[in-house]
Amino acid sequence: MRPPRVSVEGFEGPLDLLLELVEDKKLDILTVRLGDLAAEYLARVRAMGQLPADEAAAFLWLASRLVLLKARSLLPSLEPLREEDEEVSEEELRLRLIEYAAVRQRASALGDRLRAGERAFHREGGTVELPPRGGDTDALAAAWSRVLTLAQRPRHEEAEIPPERYSVEQRTAEIEEIVAREGSVSFDRLLGSEPTLSFAVVTFISLLDLYRRLVIDLEQDELFGEITIVRKVGRDADAQRPGE
């Protein structure tokens, strides 16, 4: 699975959104505790509304990292999550954010040049007429092949967009309904037998969100053991709906 193409609500991607937050709050990119931005980042992602899962995954992946950084600062003894990838440390994430900030400034400098319209032009040649000789048919065939590839590619890519689309809102509502009906449910059952990455991330973020809104409790008997999602006693899930 590749990271999705994202350009939603004026943001070019998850790093863009995070940087926007840092800049809006006039925080120093070098010293801000990124985990502290987790709640607000999640709120912004939630505010995006019905975001298709394949586009949301990149935002949610970063959101989950921020939540994790926050959790770590509160509970330094927290064991690593059971996940296949390397955990991203605060410093790694900060470096990426700094580099992304430079990229954004460079892109805007290039954009300014483009808008100024001060470009150069070359000559295609043509004043000198000499009989051409020795054309290379392979070069011609290669040029044709290139044109074909370029001309065909957009169609090909459109066909590749996965049909499956979930939003966090949608998935959160589904989980709330299951928990309200059955009292508890296992994490594995929520994931199903062969979850796609998007589906797993959306489910995970929905759970974090429900947990934060005190709708559910998460129970785990042993490390790496089965996680059970339990309806919080004495709470009416719907009453908490508006959240933060």
């Binding site: 295609e124 043509g126 290379d136 070069a139 011609l140 065909q152």
Partner: protein, 185 residues
């Protein structure tokens, strides 16, 4: 170099990119100059080229920049090398025409996705492509095809000898209403 007038520079830039001699009145219109101002700018430009590798030349009212006659040997050494010199853009346009002839300019542009005015002109001026009548339909656009010089130049005895790249069904016919976007290069 002594500072040249902005008008002379504008005229120079236009003549530089032009692939054919530019009529005086067109030059005046594009550069936004009166006939008199244009004369002064052309004189300034011509004088500036003295002692350089370029010359300002005119045939009647049509003006162009050419290489200085003294540079003929080095230019011939460069161009006369026994091979075809085409820019990648021209080569791509030539490939589209060769494989899909007869074809209109708009169709070439639909396939390449960029404006192909200049490259078609270049290929025409080198006799690699030529007009092949007109397509029936709105505007009756010109159809282009390759020439026998094209075959000779690529060492082909017929078009059937063109290297096979994709199957003939490899690409669907492309039609673009309203024409393609401009070419950045």
């Amino acid at each position: 170099m002594p500072m040249r007038s902005d008008l002379a520079n504008r005229v120079e830039a236009v003549l530089f990119v032009a692939e054919k001699p530019v009529p005086r009145n067109e030059l005046a219109r594009i550069a936004g100059a009166t006939s008199r101002q244009l004369d002064a700018a052309l004189a300034e430009l011509g004088a500036g080229y003295e002692g350089s590798g370029l010359r300002l030349q005119h045939d009647g009212d049509e003006w162009q920049i050419v290489t200085a006659p003294e540079m003929a040997p080095v230019v011939a050494a460069y161009l006369g090398a026994d091979r075809l010199r085409l820019s990648p853009a021209s080569l791509e346009t030539l490939a589209v025409v060769a494989y899909r002839q007869p074809i209109t300019r708009a169709e070439v542009e639909a396939v390449r996705g960029v404006n192909c005015d200049q490259t078609i002109y270049t290929l025409m001026s080198r006799r690699l492509i030529e007009e092949r009548g007109r397509k029936e339909g709105p505007g009756r656009p010109i159809l282009y095809g390759t020439t026998w010089e094209f075959l000779e130049c690529f060492g082909l005895t017929s078009l059937e000898q063109l290297p096979t790249v994709f199957g003939p069904e490899g690409i669907a016919p492309v039609t673009v209403p309203g024409g393609p976007a401009g070419e950045p290069a």
